[in-house]
C-alpha cells in the first residue's frame, strides 16, 4: 500500500469517528445540551461523512488499485496526489472551524472561501491524476 494511500485511509477513518461525534453533538443540541453554535455544524456532519470518510477512502484505494499509468510512473504524478490529500484536509478542517463562527466578522467568511477553494483544488488534482489510469485492458 503506497504511503499516500495509508494517509488517505487513516484520515478517512478519523473523519468517520469525527462525523459520528459531530452527529452526537447535534443530537445532544436537540435535547438542549451544549452550546448553541453546535447546531451550525450540520453541514460539517454531512461533509465529514461524504468527503472526509467516503471520498478519501475511495481516493486512497483508487490510487493504490487502479490500473498502472506507465511502467515508469505507475501511479501518475504522486506529487499531485499528495497535494490533493493536504488540500482537501486543510480545507475540510478550516470549514469545520469557520462554519460555526460565521457572522462573527469578515475573517470567518473569507476562511470559508479559502476552505471552498482548497477542497475544490484537491478534488480537481485527484481527478486530473486518476483520469488517464481509467482505461480498458491493453
Amino acid at each position: 500500500m503506497p504511503r499516500v494511500t495509508r494517509w488517505f485511509v487513516r484520515l478517512s477513518l478519523l473523519y468517520l469517528v469525527g462525523a459520528l461525534l459531530v452527529g452526537l453533538g447535534l443530537a445532544a443540541r436537540q435535547m438542549g445540551w451544549g452550546p448553541s453554535w453546535i447546531a451550525r455544524w450540520s453541514p460539517v456532519y454531512f461533509h465529514f461523512f461524504m468527503l472526509g470518510w467516503a471520498t478519501q477512502l475511495i481516493f486512497g484505494v483508487a490510487h493504490w488499485m487502479f490500473p498502472n499509468y506507465t511502467p515508469e510512473a505507475p501511479r501518475g504524478n504522486e506529487g499531485l496526489v499528495w497535494f490533493a490529500l493536504i488540500s482537501v484536509n486543510v480545507g475540510l478542517v478550516l470549514r469545520a472551524v469557520a462554519e460555526p463562527l460565521l457572522g462573527r466578522g469578515p475573517l470567518w467568511g473569507w476562511a470559508l472561501v479559502v476552505a471552498a477553494v482548497l477542497q475544490w483544488a484537491g478534488i480537481i488534482a485527484f481527478v486530473w491524476n486518476t483520469w488517464p489510469r481509467v482505461r480498458p485492458r491493453r
Binding site: M50, R95, A116, Q119, W120
Partner: protein, 158 residues
C-alpha cells in the same frame, strides 16, 4: 477493466469534479455572498455527489470485479441501460432549477435515477454468487466462450 466500467468510472470522476465545483460555489457564497443563484445548485450538488460520484463509481467497479459467467458478465444490456438512465436522470436534475417547470424535470430525473439503480440490480443479482470451481470441463467451456467472443468482436470491427 471492461469498456463499460471505464465509462462508469470516468463519468463518476466527471461528477466528482462537477459536485465539488457546485459545493465550492455554495460554500464560498455562504462565506462572502457573490452568487445569489448558488443555493439553486444544492439539489444538483447532492445528487451529483451521492449518485454521480459515489454510486456510479461503485457500480462501475462492481461491473468489473463481481464474479462472471465464464468470460461473460450476464445481463450486460441492463448495466448499459442503467448507465444511460442514470446519466440522463442526473442531467435532468442538473438543469431542473433553471426552468420554470423545473419540478417536472426533477421528478423525471429522479425517476430515471431510480430506474437506473433497479436496472443495475437486475444485472448484478445473479453475479453475486460463489466463485466457479475450475474443472477441466469448465475450463474448456470458458475457452470456447472466449473464442466465440473474440470472433464476435472481430466481426463487429470488420
Amino acid at each position: 477493466m471492461p469498456k463499460l466500467s471505464v465509462w462508469y468510472v470516468r463519468a463518476s470522476l466527471v461528477y466528482l469534479a462537477l459536485g465539488g465545483t457546485f459545493g465550492a460555489i455554495i460554500l464560498s457564497h455562504k462565506g462572502i455572498p457573490w452568487a445569489p443563484w448558488a443555493w439553486r445548485l444544492l439539489e444538483a450538488h447532492i445528487d451529483v455527489t451521492l449518485l454521480g460520484w459515489v454510486t456510479l463509481l461503485i457500480l462501475g467497479v462492481a461491473y468489473w470485479i463481481l464474479p462472471r459467467f465464464g468470460v461473460r458478465r450476464g445481463r450486460e444490456g441492463w448495466a448499459l441501460g442503467a448507465f444511460i438512465s442514470m446519466n440522463v436522470g442526473l442531467l435532468l436534475v442538473l438543469i431542473a432549477p433553471w426552468f420554470l417547470k423545473g419540478h417536472v424535470l426533477l421528478f423525471m430525473g429522479r425517476g430515471l435515477e431510480a430506474f437506473a439503480v433497479m436496472a443495475f440490480v437486475i444485472h448484478a443479482w445473479p453475479r453475486v454468487k460463489p466463485l466457479m470451481v475450475s474443472t477441466a470441463e469448465t475450463l474448456v467451456e470458458a475457452a470456447k466462450e472466449r473464442k466465440a467472443l473474440q470472433k464476435e468482436e472481430l466481426r463487429a470491427k470488420q
